[in-house]
Symmetry: C2
């Protein structure tokens, strides 16, 4: 009893895994503080970032620290991830990214060459997204006090119309801009050492231009990037925040063959692992087809699909399976893959 | 030879100590990347943050990760530090802070109570500064992979007139808004275990209201907060960036008796240790007195003093000692106290 009690009072890996355990930590220790939301999207909205109304416009801000292991993985590295993750959070808030910060925390003894390779990737990815890195910070911790490197990136952007993750309405279509599981499974299979036969690559990338195209067409009601906790977590959040049900169709959810088989071998649900290069977009039904067709023409969004429909309801997500059954999709307690981003 | 060569290629504590060793790392691996400065203060200016012109205004952004040990120290804690550090960087850029992010990285096994205490202090300090924390991130690293807790805070603010750290002109007066060394020496003497007899407390605090008062009076030409590397580092940076000399008077530089004696006992130069609650303000001579008198009336700035004068020159800083001698103040290689902020 005493031991259990003690463990309950300590931080566990799941407290940082993006699922329900993390959410309850945040609710318990952070949301009790006042939120002076001035009409924008604030702390209590638990969205991908915050929006601050200013002079008939909104500045959007978002932050993420990146602790991924290994630092270099198939399809990307911590530098590319740090830029993409933050740009994507700005993008799914409906903002045009304008600047990023880059805060490095390094372990004493780390090869400078490793830092340099990471920084090169960071700047290259920022250039790809056409966003400037404007300021940063560098700290060093003693050997043994930090595992290699952490990068925090914070991004700001502007928009006239912030898009929350809570705006779904019955009738809306759910679009996913790419296949699920690539990032999480690439990390895990690399760690498990079986990348010799699998070809799973992370699809980590900035998706601001993909999102721009959807916004240009219009009809977008809600967006979210399904990072830690994967599609299961994000889609449940969108359903419960909007107090609607969502019906997904399994055979419409794009998944690569190699991701599917790796997740079976590893016993991991590909719907619950972090993605770093896709977004969930809720759209008005009359715009769904045009967005689908236009996005499918963009590199990095070729697998875009309409994966479901929003219904009246109370925040439940169901999946119609390939064999015609139906089951609930629950939000995971946490992402099954630690240190995935 | 081979061993030395290898060490040269590795990150050392000094690479994160805010002095010349860090500066050269940043120059070598970061500044080689293009800076698409759009008229604002950018990456290559190496100022306290960046400014981005937008609609006849400027948005200012700055970031700092905080790795201080111990987490709770005399006069403050990592939460108070994380908020103050970032607000102060915004303030010395001439910006009115409007929002902060809070990104936590926690070690598995850390007591939740410790996290909660830290978060309470973070929000309390933000409230003191009248700035909202609007969004954040929470990551957990495995036990042994991170020493307890890191907090990154990024801040944004607005200003019509960004103030750089490079704007000094011959004739300007140098104002310091408080006494030197309190933060660094409080950390160090606490670590060395002799806080039983010393009363050194960190003066870590948000100084936005103090800076507001100076800006309201006017005549401010340059500002910087003398954090890692202390007054020696910051004042040298201000001198060399403006290509002027600065003459400081030792007997005008406020220092608490207990800080002076602790630094003598510990063999530490109080001019080179991090401060977290003061700013260096360059002002036109005709405004110096009014700013001095007004700031001295504000809590937290009672020790404000005019500590020197700007002269024509080539970036050198001299100190006229109490006994009438004169010596150069050099920028330190790094802050002598590791993990000070
Ligand atoms: N330490 C914190 N302080 C304040 N808010 C936090 C903190 N940690 C998380 N949050 C808030 O909780 C919500 C969920 O955070 P989360 O990091 O899961 O979002 P995300 O960045 O979109 O996802 P990911 O980090 O997986 O990319 C966000 O609104 C975030 O602002
Ligand atoms: N990793 C980085 N990427 C980009 N710029 C960086 C990085 N690290 C530091 N810089 C830049 O170098 C300059 C000096 O950084 P430094 O952190 O010393 O400033 P500061 O925040 O004012 O001081 P302190 O961190 O001691 O409070 C700043 O302009 C900062 O933007
Ligand atoms: Mg997100
Ligand atoms: Mg994110
Ligand atoms: Mg800094
Ligand atoms: Mg500074
Ligand atoms: Mg700083
Ligand atoms: Mg996050």
């Amino acid at each position: 009893m005493t031991v259990n009690k003690k463990q309950e009072n300590k931080i566990t890996i799941e407290h940082g895994a993006g699922g329900q355990v993390m959410d309850s930590l945040i609710k318990n220790i952070i949301l009790k503080h006042t939120d002076k939301k001035n009409g924008g999207i604030g702390l209590h909205d638990l969205d991908d970032g915050a929006s601050i109304p200013h002079n008939n416009e909104n500045i959007v801000i978002t932050t993420d620290s990146h602790v991924v292991r290994p630092i270099f993985f198939p399809g990307g590295d911590i530098g590319r991830l740090a830029v993409s993750g933050t740009i994507n959070d700005l993008s799914v808030m409906g903002a045009k990214p304008i600047a990023l910060t880059s805060a490095l925390i390094l372990e004493e003894g780390l090869e400078i060459e490793v830092v340099e390779k990471t920084i090169n990737s960071l700047f290259k990815t920022a250039q790809e997204a056409e966003v400037d890195i404007v300021t940063g910070d560098t700290k060093v911790m003693e050997a043994g006090e930090l595992d290699k490197i952490i990068i925090n990136t914070t991004g700001i952007g502007y928009t006239n119309h912030p898009i929350s993750d809570s705006g779904l309405k019955p009738g809306d279509k759910i679009i996913l801009t790419g296949s699920v599981g690539n990032h999480g499974l690439s990390i895990l299979s690399h760690r498990e050492g079986f990348n010799f036969k699998s070809n799973i690559k992370s699809d980590v990338k900035p998706i601001n231009k993909i999102i721009d195209k959807a916004l240009e067409i219009g009809g977008v009601t809600a967006m979210k990037d399904p990072t830690r906790g994967g599609l299961s977590k994000s889609i449940n959040e969108m359903a419960s925040k909007a107090n609607v049900n969502i019906e997904l169709k399994e055979n419409k959810i794009p998944i690569k063959k190699e991701v599917k088989s790796a997740s079976e071998i590893l016993g991991i649900d590909p719907m619950s692992v972090a993605n770093e290069g896709i977004a969930i977009i809720g759209v008005k039904p009359e715009k769904a087809n045009e967005i689908l067709e236009k996005l499918k023409k963009i590199d990095g969004a070729k697998d875009t699909a309409v994966i479901g429909t929003v219904k009246e309801g109370k925040g439940k997500v169901t999946l119609e399976t390939t064999i015609g059954g139906k089951r609930y999709i629950e939000p995971p307690a946490g992402d099954p893959i630690p240190r995935v981003c």
